[in-house]
Symmetry: C2
Subunit: 410 residues, 2 copies
């Protein structure tokens, strides 16, 4: 038992209350970054922070941090947090859970009067999803000094809106310094958004890091022809090259083994007609690995395969990178602490990488950082059907509480 | 030398004049069936028919036939013809060439005063392309009694227009009986729309028949997942099944050899995003063969492959037929006559099936029928770049003339 007693009811009630802002009516939630719905969500969570007596600071990219008062300025807080913006067809747990669980941890610690030598803090970072503005994880990137404020302010969204204007419009263009002072440590509690914990019946994931991501778009150009009148020997079919590449990606990934994954999720043929051999096929390859050398090897093998396959069909290939993030390794001490705390509480726990990007990977640049995952039913996320059982939500929050308390004592 | 001397200039001039109707400004032509542009094209060609002194009849589906006068009613004509409707991005030769060459043949025969025991006739059939109304080859289908007039009249186009209304609107709802009396023989002169003649440097194709066509749409349903968080072993990726099917189609077709062809020309993923394993993949398989038993075998092998591949990935498959036409064999006597006439004129000639559908396949149901192909530069058709060299156009028309004259004497 932790010294602090969390209220599962309060956590679930706050999750429901926040989910009501931007409610899509199908169990889901839509609060794109810096929209009016995002403002209403922010106002609600900031009010809860102030109701707790936290010092609420807002920086120039709209990140909001609530910190326990009563400590000297130089004492770095143990921070948790995540984001409260969502994708257009978002669920109610992605991001929100980590923020509201952090709020609950601080409330429980304060209620119990647990004496700590450091303040606890909870943050929500701007535009983690990247659905309205690119890049994603923008707020936490700026928080750690990874992008200049002016550059971030000039970013224009999919609807033509500029970040600085939207921040000012919704009242979240704050004055707290950027980059921010580094926390003592950072822990992000999050739903897994994948199927592993749920499939195994494991309660807690001690996240060891974030996979490196390589997104590349390939365009194979062959020759458009009539599907009836063109003999097979005269064809230069870009769809065949794309298909053979998809098969090759699966084979390469299988040969490399876990944690290498590879996905062709998008393909567009031109002209995409039943009776026409396509002129060109444009498709994306998404490769991820926790080891950057292995990720580079996968990239090279896929590129080599597609060049070979295209040449064999008499087609040509061009490509352009869409995104490239190196893997992030979390702090071994904090990862271990998550495992230890989970085991002490009788929870099943496993180490695992995160396949998705998270704000924690930015914070990892400036302080000891790790993440705690809880199961996602059927691995579903970014979807109104996103769900985590209340018992799992509570277990994750209790692990977060104990990890933060122990970190505050180091 | 034929008894009739064709005027290459007049043929080319008429091709250019007809192409000016619906000119797309890029060398191409757009006269969708029963539109105002189609009416202007029809009016022009019907005027040329009347200028030649032909008896012009229009039936209830808008087919227009120009027949030499001065013969007893019971004497069936030797007919040639094709269509003058085009696809939206059509060229100037597809269809038009066969009609205007037929007009030229009759003008030359009349000018030379070649005595024939049967009239010659030239027809253009309604909605051969099928771009506005389905099915394609509708006019010739109705001409031979393959569809009831009422059913044809009720067909609604992609723009919501009904065939009967459009026929009346443009003045081509005629009174000639349907099904029409069978001609003595039918010959369709057409550009190949494929690369074979041009690639070989062969001047004339003696078309032995039309390939059977099987179009089927498959939908593979797997499970949509996050591309980063879902381990490969838990994936049910419909794109992979589609890709493996494309590879299997190429293999099956290669094993079967010419004239079997197979094409996957259309594929749509849902949701088609770079970082999401698709929920479903919908794609089409176009299979063609001149032998129906072999075509059925190809269909069965593809269906078997996709079922196997889907099961291996834990995905499910549904399918629906989009179109199915049995192969058509042309009349051996007329095919031979085309070969003979071409050789007599010192032209290179080869027998070949047609990979595309043509009005001649409908006429083949009621009279001895064949087709004459001329080369398409690079096999390009249904495209503003569609081109056939003037010398090839003239050679084809001269073969048509001599074939029709000889058929009229049998």
């Amino acid at each position: 038992m932790s010294e602090a007693r969390l209220s599962a009811d309060r956590l679930l009630r706050r999750l429901a209350e926040l989910a009501a802002v931007g409610d899509t009516g199908d169990g889901g939630c839509s609060r794109l970054a810096l929209t009016d719905d995002d403002r209403r969500g922010r106002d609600l969570v900031a009010r809860w922070m102030r109701d707790l007596g936290l010092i609420v600071t807002i920086d120039a990219i709209g990140n909001v941090v609530g910190t326990q008062p009563g400590f000297d300025d130089g004492v770095a807080p143990v921070m948790c947090g995540s984001h409260i913006d969502t994708v257009a067809t978002g669920g109610r747990y992605d991001g929100n859970y980590g923020v509201l669980a952090g709020l609950e941890v601080i409330e429980a610690v304060q209620t119990a009067g647990v004496p700590l030598p450091r303040p606890l803090a909870v943050a929500f970072f701007t535009n983690e999803e990247g659905s309205r503005f690119a890049p994603d994880m923008l707020g936490s990137l700026a928080f750690v000094g990874g992008i200049a404020v002016e550059a971030a302010h000039d970013i224009v969204g999919i609807d033509g809106a500029r970040i600085r204007n939207e921040l000012a419009r919704i009242g979240y263009l704050g004055g707290a310094p950027l980059p921010a002072a580094a926390p003592h440590a950072f822990v992000e509690l999050h739903i897994e958004q994948g199927p592993i914990l749920a499939a195994e019946g494991t309660a807690i994931g001690a996240v060891t890091g974030v996979q490196g991501i390589s997104w590349r778009e390939f365009t194979v150009t062959g020759q458009s022809n009539h599907a009836g009148t063109t003999p097979m020997r005269l064809r230069r079919d870009p769809l065949l090259v794309a298909a053979e590449t998809a098969v090759a990606v699966r084979r390469i990934v299988a040969e490399m083994g876990d944690p290498q994954v590879g996905t062709i999720g998008r393909i567009d043929l031109d002209p995409n007609l039943v009776n026409v051999v396509a002129r060109s096929a444009t498709f994306t390859v998404d490769l991820r690995n926790t080891d950057d050398a292995l990720l580079r090897s996968a990239e090279a093998r896929v590129a080599e395969a597609i060049e070979y396959l295209a040449a064999a069909e008499g087609a040509t290939v061009t490509s352009r990178p869409l995104a490239r993030f190196e893997p992030v390794a979390f702090d071994e001490t904090v990862v271990c602490l998550v495992e230890t705390v989970a085991r002490e509480r009788g929870l099943t726990v496993r180490r695992m990488p995160s396949g998705a990007g998270h704000d924690a990977q930015m914070l990892a640049r400036v302080c000891p950082t790790a993440m705690v995952f809880v199961p996602s039913v059927d691995g579903i996320s970014h979807n109104p059907a996103e769900h985590t059982a209340p018992a799992d939500l509570t277990a994750g929050a209790e692990v977060l509480a104990e990890v933060m308390i122990r970190l505050a004592r180091t």
